[in-house]
Amino acid sequence: MNVLKRALLYVTKKRGKSLLLFLIIFVISTLVLCGLASLDAEEESSLELRGTTGTSFTVARNLSSGSWSNGASGSYSTQEYISNDIVEKISNIDGIQAYDVSSTTILHFYDVDGNYYECLNPIGYANVDCQYYTNTSINSEYSSLFLSQTFSLSEGRHIVVTDENVVLISKEVAKKHNFQIGDEIYGVIDPDSSDPVVALKIIGTFEVNIDKTDEKNNYNAASYYDYENYAYTDINAMETLLTNYEGERPSDGYSCVDFFVSDPETLENIIIEAQAISSIDWNNFTITANDEVYERVASSMSDMSSLIRVLMIIIVAISMGIITLILSMWLKSRIHETGILLAAGISKTSILLQHILEVGFIAFFSFPLSYIASKAVAGTIGGLFEKTADKVIVTVRHLRLVCGIGVIILILAIVVSCIPTLKLKPKEILSKLS
């Protein structure tokens, strides 16, 4: 009788025992699959958690290394501006999620007939009451006031890099003038000059969440404007609006740009990579890391992920230990059989191979089934915690890992637990039994 047949017969005849071993391998590999999937979920979630700290770095003109000049409005720096080219090069670095510029201009808004749109809380001077404190933005979602939740988008969408001639206004102003998303308003910098008028399409409105009356914010010009009278527009619109203002147009460059990284852990490397871009003269610019929030939570966050990782590793390691122990228990109960087989003249290698084949047959069915089961387990239990379910995903990669390592462990366990028995002579084995 050949090895294969013997193994097959054993598995089919000792149905109860085979079923048990099948269940044990099945249960343990399900656990390991869930563990591996959770490990991946942990990595993804931790990355996302770090991402919520909104870590960024700011590139700004280095005013201290540039020279100064005098003009009508006092002295000004002649330092190089951050050109679109530089912005593009830095934003192309891997790991940069988004970037935004921040520059402000006062715009006057009016309708197609030339009637001004009065701002909220007017003070009674017509030329001031239609002024809006307008931020130029590439990705308004990342502008500081939106990030700090001072503003939140209430309708429509944010400004993105491809936008042309669009505007975001406050919900209150929209209500006052009955603006709808998609309406057009006209903006100009100085209505009494030859400045171009640009038709701006309202693509969204924002809500003001913060108590603007708190005087802690009153340290610059922005404090003279109610938050409701803020507006956001894109760089293309600003380029046209600023036609007459040489040196202030977006194409002339920006004075500072914020780059947001998706993983704060990579911040340092990204900064180093940015500083290695040879076409940028870093003597003219400064880089500041904005990672206060991350620095505060970094150690607790890494504690959390190490704890979870250790937990998963312990689970996987212990599962391996258990399966080894169970296999040795299984083989121990077969000393009698082994002795008889040896006495019947079957070689030790053949017996060992038989054991391996038996377990192999069983594992062949256990592994794929545990793949299906672990998917179900992750789904049902994960479902109890809503969002967690989407993260714990058992993939074929996990199955491959379990199969690969599982087969090695099973073989090793069988070989190791067979050694004591196989070292004995048939006679010794049989005498040991009685």
Binding site: L20, V27, Q149, K216, E268, T288, D291, S299, I318, V392
Partner: protein
């Protein structure tokens, strides 16, 4: 031979098997105990993350007649869950006088107007901690000489570099502040610091008192003496922080039940953006741990049941003989139970040791990691943004608690008994003869 003796003999004679069973039980209980220890440690870590995301609220009591008074502030600070750091601030205007009553000079270049009555006045900001003021945090002010104002300072002032040189003032000099408007209060203050504005004033329309050169910083006592002089301390704004942002709503309602102030006139702003951003994903991580622990417990229970079935199945032969010898079924069943429970008892004692050992190792691993991380932070990012507040964090302890231990013992014993009963059932139903014929 009595039951106990039989069980004992079985364990001691079949050493290999007993050791195996011991190992399996030990591994499982260690695994579950370690899981619990890690779970409570992750809860601490999550709490630390929440604490580090510094959330709080600001009370704007400017519209209340008496504003925030000292006793209200102590009431708030005594509320459960309020963190130790806070900042109280007020904004006002004051005329600057020399000690002998002469009006001091202010900067007027660049001002859009010099309002009447403010020819020698500037904007003043009083803070519990002046280094927490937005001028220093955001507008680019830097202290170039002296010290920042802290909670214990009384009647002190920080002035601008320009104002100091204009009026020949230096650290340690005294000047007099005069209230503007309905008050006629005068307060002597000592110069403790001099600041410099590193960024230009981004406003083309500032009145004289708002120019950076004319701004100065003082303590809340000075503000109260100048504008209230009733012996109490008053504050326009209070910034408070909480230990756990998840409790912010409860704490806020506790705070608002403090009597003695017209809460409806106050504007309360909650500052917990960072926490709100991290909240969902943080909960996901915690759920992940709970999820995997559920799976581990489920799998362990199932495994134990299966293994015990295997163990009982291997003893059909022996059972048959015992039955043939006239032992009753119950007796045999109890023997099996006794055997496993004896092993389990030893296991449980050991599992406490092993899981504590593992937990301790994990704890040390975390400590080492934190130590190396601190070094990394110190050596890199030298710009000084890495200000750690680890001292306020709860240290993470990975320990096996006694209640968890007890839980495992009770549940473990339950599982063992149930598995043996269930797996013995088919054998026990058979007659001795059936069992013995089945063997061959």
């Amino acid at each position: 031979m009595n039951l106990w003796k039989r069980a004992y003999l079985h364990i001691t004679r079949k050493k290999g098997k007993s050791i195996l069973m011991f190992c399996i039980l030990l591994i499982m209980s260690t695994l579950i105990l370690t899981c619990f220890a890690i779970q409570s440690a992750t809860d601490t870590a999550a709490f630390n993350i929440r604490t580090s995301l510094k959330s709080g609220f600001t009370i704007n009591a400017k519209s209340v007649d008496t504003q925030l008074e000292g006793h209200i502030v102590s009431g708030i600070m005594d509320t459960n869950g309020i963190a130790a750091d806070f900042n109280l601030r007020s904004y006002f205007y004051a005329e600057y006088y020399s000690l002998n009553g002469q009006l001091l000079d202010i900067t007027t270049d660049g001002a859009i107007e010099i309002p009447e009555g403010y020819e020698h006045a500037g904007k003043m900001v009083s803070n519990t901690y002046s280094n927490m003021d937005t001028y220093f945090l955001e507008a680019g002010f830097e202290l170039i000489e002296g010290q920042h104002i802290t909670a214990n300072d009384r009647n002190v002032i920080i002035i601008s570099e320009t104002f100091a040189s204009q009026n020949g003032l230096s650290i340690g000099d005294t000047l007099v502040l005069g209230g503007i408007g309905e008050t006629d209060g005068h307060v002597k203050v000592e110069v403790v610091g001099i600041f410099k504005a590193t960024l230009p004033l981004d406003a083309g329309v500032a009145p004289s008192y708002d120019l950076y050169e004319n701004i100065s910083f003082s303590d809340n006592e000075t503000y109260s003496q100048l504008y209230y002089h009733d012996g109490d301390t008053h504050y326009q704004y209070g910034d408070f922080y909480v230990d756990d942002p998840a409790e912010l709503d409860t704490i806020l309602s506790d705070v608002m039940s403090i009597s003695g102030i017209e809460w409806e006139k106050c504007i309360i702003t909650v500052n917990d953006v960072d926490y709100q951003n991290a909240k969902a994903i943080l909960e996901t991580l915690q759920n992940l741990v709970t999820l995997i622990i559920f799976v581990v417990i489920g799998v362990s229970t199932l495994l134990l049941a299966l293994i015990l079935t295997l163990w009982v199945k291997n003893r059909i032969y022996e059972t048959g003989i015992l039955l043939a010898m006239g032992f009753c079924k119950r007796n045999i069943l109890i023997q099996h139970l006794m055997e496993i429970l004896m092993v389990a008892f030893v296991t449980f004692v050991f599992s406490f040791l092993t899981s504590s050992l593992i937990a301790q190792n994990i704890g040390e691993h975390l400590l080492n990691q934190a130590a190396t991380e601190n070094q990394v932070v110190e050596t890199n990012l030298a710009e000084g943004t890495a200000e750690k507040n680890t001292e306020t964090l709860t240290s993470i302890e990975v320990t096996v608690s006694f209640s968890n231990l007890l839980l495992i013992y009770i549940i473990g014993t339950g599982i063992v008994m149930l598995s043996i009963l269930l797996s013995s059932y088919p054998i026990m139903r058979m007659k001795p003869k059936e069992i013995l014929t089945k063997m061959s």
